[in-house]
Symmetry: C2
Subunit: 339 residues, 2 copies
């Protein structure tokens, strides 16, 4: 299974470690022999058709801040999408940062790969948030598999649960806490911190994205809502269909009112006919009422009542493990197991 | 899909209603045409090879307390297992009450059906608790499918989640609240009631089994632990391998100590090398700390962290919906979709 890995941040590096440490296990249990033929980061690329040495790649990244020192003479002048065009591979794993303006470079990477009939695993939410319906249509047209388990819930298999564990059931609505950073900040505020000191605390712990608007203004939560609504409810929606309010406008009055009702304010992504992200009062006893960086989502189905899944939504190793699950899923779903 | 339905209590009747109301849906979406050819309750049987009228069966049960008035002249003198021996069917659905002495009549029903190459769906925990390893071996030997989604978590697909949503992952340990009745009683005690008044309250609400020892002494929780340990962890264990302590010995001292630690006492079924059921302190902030009749289970996996699923564990309609999911699963897993 030849792999091009785009992006070598926390998730990319965790994946490299997992692929190195689980090589035997993946081959024995799933007949998967992953061979990473190219890796890109924001500064450049490394290519080795015989298989990139993943440990050496991590060392290069950690020592020099880029993977490009892996080769002594790194003279490739591909752009990211040219790389995908020029290197033969079975799968593209797209882990570049999510961006909700134009979703680049992920969007071009994914489209280029699909046109070349590569299967695609994306943990980058940008392209899916802006163009889920057309990307899944393009995957169908090119007869390739597009997977994205890590985009919602990190290592917690929320998408798979709703799609597969509840087969034969109709999910009527769902609502969830899908962003751990804002949940951490809201938990701190509930315990008495001001918004600014809670934010500073979250920054110090490394929980806040480089572009903090993605967390605070609800964009990350909304992107995950788009993915859930398309994948689980069969809607054809994009980010522009979501009504989005973040957590910046939280005030002491609202917190006190919630508290009187035995509730706390949580940033909820909700699909109940309408799609919206915003602060809601959640009762202390509601299973959805989780603290800290936890994510939680409640699905209400026609015959099985309401069910809640709770887990840590992010983390490099957890998200990398979701990529491995997607690799296994792709392997099991292609005819003749040909890769 | 010909069905023999053994047991016509709350779950059996809910299933009959669902089968009647979802007939179109099951055929259109899953090509399943369920035809119930026989139904038994504790007083007798009804048989109709053309398909039992399910609505009329429910009416008979509700009016006369037994289904046997369905026919004007009900002269069959089969015993339960004879019924299965004498009537051709594709599936046995076993919903008779769980019993942890000898697991009868469920055990004989299931074994008779498997020998006749019927697939089996059991929501009866007794046979699985006493003989999981040999029943699954017998299913393999007879090349039939044995399913039991409703035995743990009712409508909440806990077994399916752990088995399928976490594929490619190794579950290291789990612990859960698997009995809603004792959780209800413990919640009431936590809020100030005595054990006896909490029990009386639970009885009044219809939450307590006819044989209340099954709930209070932890047998129901232990049976579910046996099923999880076999199915998810690949252990080969039965009820006698579980260390079981119920909730009868709860005392005010323990409750106060727990409270000082910001914890509450919960009846936990745990698999962490050893298998045991007993009261444990659970921290208020732990997602496992759910109130009322809710069930919850936390799985800790090698790479994906700890994940918790919460839902209502019982309820006729929820458990019936799990039987429908098992029917769909069997239909999809048999060669040529021949039933």
């Amino acid at each position: 299974m030849r792999i091009i890995l785009c992006g070598f941040g926390v998730v990319g590096q965790s994946l490299a470690k997992l692929l190195a440490s689980r090589a035997d296990d993946l081959y024995k249990k799933y007949s998967i022999k992953p061979k990473v033929v190219a890796v890109s980061d924001s500064k450049g690329y490394i290519i080795d058709k015989q298989g990139v040495n993943l440990i050496k790649t991590i060392e290069s990244k950690q020592k020099f801040g880029t993977i490009t020192k892996y080769h002594d003479n790194n003279k490739y002048d591909y752009s990211s999408s040219n790389l995908i065009d020029n290197i033969e591979s079975d799968i593209l794993i797209e882990t570049t940062p999510s961006n909700y303006e134009d979703a680049e470079p992920g969007m071009t990477n994914i489209i280029t790969a699909m046109k070349k009939k590569m299967h695609v695993i994306s943990v980058n939410k940008g392209p899916l948030a802006l163009a889920f319906p057309s990307l899944t249509e393009m995957a169908r047209h090119n007869k390739i598999i597009l997977r994205f388990s890590g985009t919602v819930g990190g290592g917690t298999p929320i998408l798979n649960y709703a799609k597969n564990s509840l087969y034969g059931e109709k999910i009527l609505s769902f609502s969830g806490i899908l962003n751990g950073t804002t949940n951490y900040i809201l938990t701190k505020i509930e315990h008495g911190m001001t918004f600014n000191s809670a934010l500073a605390d979250a920054r110090k712990k490394g929980y806040v994205e480089a572009n903090e608007s993605l967390d605070l203004d609800g964009l990350d939560s909304a992107a995950k809502l788009v993915i859930l609504a398309n994948w689980i409810m069969g809607m054809k929606v994009t980010l522009s269909d979501i009504s989005i309010n973040g957590i910046r406008n939280i005030n002491q009055n609202d917190i006190r009112t919630a508290s009187k009702n035995h509730c706390v304010l949580k940033l909820i992504s909700q699909c109940n006919q309408k799609l919206n992200v915003g602060l809601q009062e959640i009762h202390h006893n509601d299973p959805l009422c989780v603290d800290g960086t936890l994510n939680a989502i409640s699905f209400t189905s026609e015959h099985s009542g309401t069910q809640t899944i709770i887990g840590h939504g992010a983390g490099g190793i957890e998200t990398a493990s979701s990529i491995i699950r997607d690799m296994i899923n792709i392997k099991q779903n292609i005819p003749n197991n040909e890769i």
